[in-house]
């Protein structure tokens, strides 16, 4: 194990690996410490969607800039990331939701996101498998440039590209402590040895809270078990991701033809629970049957769980803290994958003292001292 590094990143999920790449590209010496293997946590268990249709401008901008990076990422990293832009279709169920949708679309359009409101007839045109009645949808919003990338391929693409530039990724290496002197980060203590460093990035997903405690920072994040399932592979039937904020459902057809989706489980609870539940399985099956009746004949192959790292306002926690050199990169609340390319670029700019492409001041932990505005466009 190397004894010294410019930056130590804790967590080899999409955000940790993307940041390792962005820093290595800027000539920094980077070490990533991962307790398990690459994409063990939320990244490797996620729905893999990339959505720009957010209610808060911060999330919408992060996602839009990320899509722009995703579109060129395969070429930049030299590995395929399985990007597919089939759009996101978000069901609107009530007049009240319609008002919010109009506000969202207006804000999204103002920053160049091509979302629009569509009728039930257009829902059928976009995905003939959907039943607007079963969905209880009076309309929907649709953004054609939203989509999907393969989380494994994308994370390994970033990790491999980072390694080529000299970054080290230590798998099965658990961070046990962080040494702070005079309010500054000095050293990371792992079960394989110690690393001297000036910067530590907390990209540990649902375990970020535990990492922050090591430097005496209390975080409001909560780990919440989320469940997903996947069906047998089928011939291509629809291109878009289908979601509903009211029902919490999301599902899409993946590259290999399988339907992948999730919904909040009736037994959802806070804490590190990993057991899949039957109540999720039957609730998801029921809702899938309503949204897309032809799927009733399709078989479910597998279900699994993962954790959302949820903040009180469902916005990520990014940037500097009261401890010099301790940088936050967590609290993604279920959408860490889709914003990772831009988050990584911004944090690399922050660490390298470059000018940031956009301000992340509003995303520091300081915001929890005042009144917070919760992101309204959340799902899963």
């Amino acid at each position: 194990m190397e004894k010294k590094s410019d930056v130590v990143i804790i967590g080899a999920g999409i955000n940790g690996c993307a940041l390792a790449y962005e820093l290595a590209k800027r000539g920094k010496k980077v070490i990533v410490c991962e307790k398990n293997y690459i994409a063990y946590g939320a990244t490797g268990r996620c729905g893999a969607g990339i959505r720009q249709q957010w209610a808060s401008k911060e999330n919408a901008l992060l996602a839009k800039k990320s899509i722009e990076i995703f579109e060129k990422l395969g070429e930049e990293l030299g590995y395929d990331i399985g990007l597919r832009q089939g759009g996101y279709l978000i069901a609107i169920h009530t007049e009240e939701e319609m008002k919010q949708a109009k506000r969202n679309v207006k804000m999204q359009n103002s920053i160049g996101i091509p979302s629009r409101i569509i009728s039930p007839e257009e829902i059928k045109e976009i995905a003939s498998i959907l039943d607007p009645n079963g969905m209880e949808a009076i309309a929907a919003t649709f953004c054609p440039t939203d989509g999907h990338a393969n989380p494994f391929k994308t994370t390994y693409a970033y990790a491999n590209a980072a390694k080529k530039l000299g970054a080290k990724i230590y798998k099965f290496t658990e961070v046990k402590g962080i040494k702070v002197e005079d309010g500054k980060v000095k050293r990371v203590i792992t079960d394989k040895g110690e690393i001297e460093t000036k910067f530590v990035v907390n990209a540990a997903g649902a375990w970020s809270k535990e990492i922050a405690k090591m430097v005496g920072i209390e975080m409001p994040n909560k780990p919440i078990r989320k469940e997903a399932l996947v069906t047998e592979p089928l011939k291509k039937m629809f291109e878009c991701m289908v979601i509903s904020f009211k029902h919490g459902i999301y599902f899409s057809q993946q590259e290999e033809g399988q339907i992948l989706g999730g919904i909040p489980s009736p037994e959802e609870k806070i804490g590190y629970y990993t057991q899949p539940t039957f109540s999720f399985l039957k609730h998801m099956a029921y809702m899938l049957g309503k949204y897309a009746p032809p799927l009733k004949h399709v078989r479910i192959l597998r279900q699994w769980t993962g954790f959302y790292d949820v903040t009180p306002d469902a916005l990520p926690i990014l940037g500097k803290t009261s401890i010099e050199g301790f940088i936050q990169c967590n609290g993604f609340s279920g959408h860490g994958f889709m914003v990772a390319p831009m988050v990584a670029r911004l944090l690399a700019q922050l660490i390298c003292q470059e000018k940031l492409d956009m301000s992340i001041d509003k995303l520091s932990m300081e915001r929890f001292k005042g009144k917070i505005t919760k992101e309204k466009a959340i799902v899963g």
């Binding site: 293997y37 494994f152 399709v298 479910i300 699994w304």
Partner: protein, 91 residues
């Protein structure tokens, strides 16, 4: 040419697995799954996991007990319509 198929659903050979273990320093089945889709097809690893586990055990020196994964429901593929309720109501 002899090709030994390990995972029939996803068409993965013994050579693919060995190459991936060497290239990425894999020591778990989960990593092979991420990189190759090993065991992610219709049989959900019922036929290939033990074969892949043996290859991994040989390459890493780990025991089969250390390598074998946890099992997740459903045990067999189940139709959405079968557990998705009756007469429009959730079971």
């Amino acid at each position: 040419m002899h090709v030994k198929i390990v995972c029939r659903c996803e068409d993965i050979t013994e050579e693919d697995i060995i190459k991936t273990i060497e290239e990425h320093g894999c020591s778990t089945l989960a990593e092979l799954k991420q990189l190759l889709r090993l065991g992610m097809g219709h049989c959900q690893g019922r036929t290939c996991i033990i074969l892949a586990a043996k290859i991994l055990a040989k390459k890493t020196g780990k025991s089969l007990e250390e390598i074998m994964p946890s099992f997740r429901p459903p045990i067999i593929p189940v139709e959405i319509g079968l557990i998705g309720g009756k007469n429009g109501k959730e079971i």
